[in-house]
């Protein structure tokens, strides 16, 4: 899911630059217009249309900013930690990531988060719901131990129902044994 946000934001930024470069072209063409023909006028119109598109995308970007900027920042910080098979222990590596999540939550005191717990497919549905909850709770408790108030953190387990990666090998399983932190929407 967050991957998609990432792509979306990159697309938005790119289209913004495309818009800008078109604007530049546009002014160049306008400058050159004096001595020239219909062809250029048509081009100018086309460019104007593209320019409008860029503007409307810019609007979207403004709308998305609050939540999306923070979400992308959280992804930069590290939005997820991983677990060993049938385990919920916070590894040293995970602890580093959660330290950064903690800093992020301190920097943004108005943010509430939900931690979703996930498992690989090698377990029954019901056990994995419980195991996912245990993993998400381990993350929650770690953040609380660092000083985040517990009422800022909700926990949901998806067990094996929402894997990050499709696939049926060690690589997929490793990525699917995870707890992911999301910023709550309004």
């Amino acid at each position: 899911m967050l991957k998609y946000f990432k792509i979306l934001i990159i697309t938005i930024i790119l289209s913004y630059f495309i818009g800008c470069s078109n604007k530049d072209k546009n002014s160049l063409l306008l400058d050159a217009e004096g001595g020239n023909t219909q062809e250029n006028t048509t081009l100018t119109e086309e460019i104007e249309i593209i320019d409008n598109t860029a503007k409307s995308i810019k609007m979207d970007e403004v709308e998305l900013t609050v939540e999306e900027k923070l979400s992308s920042e959280l992804i930069e910080v590290g939005d997820r930690v991983f677990f060993e098979y049938d385990e919920s222990t916070i590894s040293d590596e995970s602890a580093d990531i959660l330290q950064k999540q903690y800093q992020f939550l301190i920097r943004n005191p108005a943010i509430y988060i939900t931690i979703t717990g996930h498992c690989d497919e090698r377990g029954t549905r019901e056990y994995n719901i419980a195991l996912g909850e245990r993993r998400a709770s381990a993350v929650k408790n770690y953040l609380i131990s660092l000083g985040i108030s517990s009422n800022r953190i909700a926990v949901i387990s998806y067990g094996k129902e929402k894997p990050t990666v499709e696939g049926h090998d060690e690589n997929a399983w490793t990525q699917n044994r995870t707890a992911v932190t999301f910023i709550n929407g309004n």
Binding site: S88, G123, T124, E126, Y127, S137, E161, H168
Partner: protein, 457 residues
């Protein structure tokens, strides 16, 4: 558009329920004396009993409905699928349905080695109703074993056939039949990462398939009430509105869905008590999962297990006195039995691997479970004292056994990875000997089957 379709399906379904419950199927069973002709179905090696099922005789103006063939065919399908009966080829029958209106010539049926013969007669009754009379004959004992006569709307012919199948099965095996039943399950579609899962229901033979939920929210683990037209299930349907994933109740007669209490953590893994008055489930909070029981009348809950472990997938014994469940309190996942008040837990599984989803057989003699060991999943059985463990089905992922009434047949689901990386998920039916595994055909991928009790008339 989709809404209209959903509405239509719901209506059709409700009408189906309405008709099957209101338009009386009046069983009118005439049993004769005790007969020697009976199969011991709990024995190990079952030899299928050769039986003859004649087409039925029918009044002329009903002939075009083909019920004279459809009803005996459906009965044959049920009995043969049980694995206990072998249908003798009808080309070899020496008496036609009309000749069988009186007592059969037993000698003619002994020639083809029929142990039992089923004959029937369909006649018209007023108000678009039919009467179906069926008789079961012991060929070597040269006796009529029993007769049954049912009247109903023509459109209920499948239910008539299932009820008759149950009576014949019960007469010949001494065990409870399971043909007049339904299966609720989770219908799955879409990519694994964002799977659409919705509840669906069908007859045990796959007929009368209906969807119960629309797929907008994730649903899992449906289970039938033993006493009412109700299903309990686990769903994420309130998550966008800040409601935790929870246990819900679905009323099949009204289509109404209600949440069963709101708890500090997630509630899941529901199952009814045998009397239908209580519900046991798991509550997950702060990394531990414990089993709770809820009184469905006053909605009061009581915690049955305590501690930091994961205790889940509880299932009552048929007498309601014990609960079997799955716990990792000893490290690995194992099966435990405790009293219904949570006292005296004892571990019953000791083999290698992880044990999960224990389900107590309606006969009380077996506990079916899911087992994960050496990279494979199995469906297994053991006695409630943990003895005589054996595995009856396996796969890349097999899970979620559910018992048919009678406790001789189970359903479960299996996921098989495909060459393109996708996953095929299907329902299967198997008997306790591990024989006659058969796929139950569904429109889409299917998981989490739950067998209903016998339909309520």
């Amino acid at each position: 558009m989709d809404k209209i379709k959903r509405h239509f399906l719901k209506c059709t379904f409700l009408i189906y329920i309405f008709f099957s419950s209101i338009f009386l199927l009046q069983p009118n069973i005439v049993l004769s004396q005790d007969e020697p002709l009976q199969i011991d179905i709990m024995g190990g090696n079952i030899q299928a009993m050769p039986i003859a099922i004649s087409y039925f005789s029918i009044e002329n103006d009903l002939k075009k409905l083909k019920l004279q063939n459809n009803i005996p065919n459906l009965i044959a399908n049920n009995l043969v699928n049980s694995g206990l009966f072998k249908l003798l080829n009808r080309d070899a029958y020496m008496q036609n349905p009309e000749q069988l209106n009186s007592s059969p010539k037993f000698r003619d049926w002994r020639i083809i080695d029929a142990q039992a013969l089923i004959t029937g007669k369909i006649s018209k009754k007023s108000g678009n109703k039919i009467n179906v009379s069926v008789e079961l004959w012991d060929i070597y004992g040269e006796k009529r074993m029993f007769g049954i006569s049912l009247s109903s709307k023509i459109k209920s012919w499948r239910r008539i056939s299932h009820i008759i199948s149950d009576k014949i099965y019960e007469r010949l095996t001494g065990e409870e039949g399971y043909f007049d039943t339904r299966i609720v399950y989770v219908s799955e579609s879409g990519a694994q990462k964002d799977r659409i899962k919705r509840l669906a229901i069908m007859d045990q033979d796959g007929a009368n398939h209906q969807y119960l939920t629309d797929g907008n929210s994730l649903v899992l683990t449906p289970r039938f009430s033993p006493t009412q037209q109700q299903i309990t299930f686990f769903s994420y349907r309130g998550v966008n509105r800040g409601i935790k994933p929870s246990v819900y109740l679905y009323n099949l007669l009204t289509g109404k869905i209600e949440i069963l209490g709101e708890f500090p953590g997630m509630s899941f893994s529901p199952r009814f008590s045998p009397d239908g008055l209580d519900l046991i489930m798991s509550l997950a909070q702060n990394g531990s999962t414990n089993i709770h029981v809820m009184n469905l009348k006053n909605r009061k809950t009581k915690q049955l297990t305590k501690g930091m472990a994961i205790d889940t997938s509880p299932s009552f014994s048929p007498d309601g006195k014990k609960i079997v469940f799955n716990s990792d309190r000893s490290g690995g996942q194992h099966l435990y039995i405790m009293d219904k008040n949570g006292k005296n837990p004892i571990r019953i599984s000791f083999g290698r691997g992880s044990y999960a989803t224990p389900v107590w057989s309606p006969r009380g003699d077996y506990i079916a479970f899911t087992k994960f060991t050496r990279g494979r999943f199995f469906i297994g059985l053991m006695h409630p004292d943990g003895s005589a463990e054996r595995l009856i089905a396996e796969g890349y992922l097999t899970e979620g056994p559910t018992w048919a009434p009678g406790g001789r047949v189970l359903s479960f689901f299996r996921q098989t990875p495909q060459k393109d990386g996708s996953m095929k998920t299907r329902l299967f039916i198997i008997d306790i000997t591990g024989n006659r595994e058969k796929e139950l055909i569904t429109p889409e991928d299917a998981s989490d089957p739950a067998w209903s009790p016998k339909n309520i008339n």
